[in-house]
Assembly symmetry: C2
Homo-oligomer: 221 residues x 2
């Protein structure tokens, strides 16, 4: 879609950066490892929680402990705003004023629905495991009924979402371009180090390829 689905998803500041295309929104949500969820706590004002998410079709899944208070508030149908942000680079202009970032971000508005149907619970749990490390869902021991009972799975529809994207070099005002100041972009990305096997790892299990060759979706190209 090329138009904002609602007033609050409309990108007002730098409208040229606003994108309402579902494919792009999905790709950003898939690549972003974590998101930040915000909601209004009736007693404590606005709140934010960084958390893992996963997308299946037009649904964003979140999960948390059933014992945690924030998740109870969200389960009860509070309005939520979810942001997923990928930083792609520092944009170093000659002027401090024109410094910027290259980034891809998504903001989702909506209300969470508790997932209670066993098949959807399995699907969401698998998607979350796969989101963290694609391939892990084929190896990890999936949740038991007892574990599912401790977990709150929430679904947020993606019908009120927008993306904002900045790419490219710095844009300095003409007089500044003459200044003897280096300007350009420093690309940034999430990189991984050497896997650290658990100290209690049994036997001589090899490190899986999805760990040694870990890359977030968009980077696998």
């Amino acid at each position: 879609m090329s138009r904002a689905p609602s007033e609050r998803t409309q990108v007002h500041r730098h409208p040229e950066r606003g994108v309402y295309d579902a494919d792009l929104i999905h790709r950003i949500l898939d690549e972003a490892l974590i998101c930040h969820v915000s909601w209004m706590d009736p007693e404590g004002g606005p709140r934010i929680l960084p958390t893992i998410h996963a997308r299946v079709g037009d649904t964003l899944y979140l999960h948390g402990s059933r014992a945690a208070r924030p998740w109870k508030t969200l389960r009860d149908g509070a309005d939520v705003c979810v942001a997923a942000t990928i930083v792609d680079g520092l944009v170093l202009a000659r002027s401090a004023f024109n410094h910027s970032m290259n980034y891809r971000s998504v903001v989702v508005f909506g209300r969470a629905r508790e997932v209670t149907e066993p098949e959807e619970m399995e699907r969401a749990a698998t998607a979350i495991t796969s989101h963290v490390a694609p391939g892990r869902e084929t190896e990890a021991r999936m949740p038991t009924e007892h574990e599912f009972r401790q977990t709150l799975l929430l679904a947020v529809p993606l019908d009120e979402a927008s993306a904002k994207v900045r790419t490219g070099p710095p844009k300095d005002d003409p007089p500044d371009i003459e200044l003897p100041i280096w300007a350009g972009v420093l690309p940034l990305a999430l990189a991984h180090g050497t896997p650290e096997p658990a100290p209690d790892l049994i036997g001589d299990l090899p490190t899986p390829g999805y760990v040694t060759g870990y890359r977030r979706p968009d980077l696998t190209g």
Copy 2:
């Protein structure tokens, strides 16, 4: 400090991960490149904005365009919640249920005050430029009066902040440790690629060392 400064900063879920030490809170804020700011929009519910920040002493500075609606709401003294999150690694347990992340995060509650005093405005602008790329503040052309007039600088006191930190290997339940499933930690960090000079760069300006050798504060350690 070893105690939460208020009820809403208290870490309830995994209380062993809660830290209320100002030094650690400062270091996390300094290393995190961006933060997410949330507030309640009286008409549109909870909102989140990813943005750049900088810390000077016990004050967190944010900045935005004076023309942007969110910043007007924040300037008017709305309650805000700011989260800065650094992902340090994937924690891959044998069971999907015990998967986790290693991370360091800070949450700040408070109200923003508009910065209007010229010296503090300079200090905040310098800190924000330096936060993005330490060293850049000595080279970039700093804001003119006209540019300052377009910029809204906000200060949030850090007296109501907490950190949450997870480190170390996965913690599986004893029966799962016997499973023939690889488990461990995959360290993650923000890494930079090759600097891309601006296409309109004048002359033969060398790429500064703070760009070629870019690292977030904690990593230079």
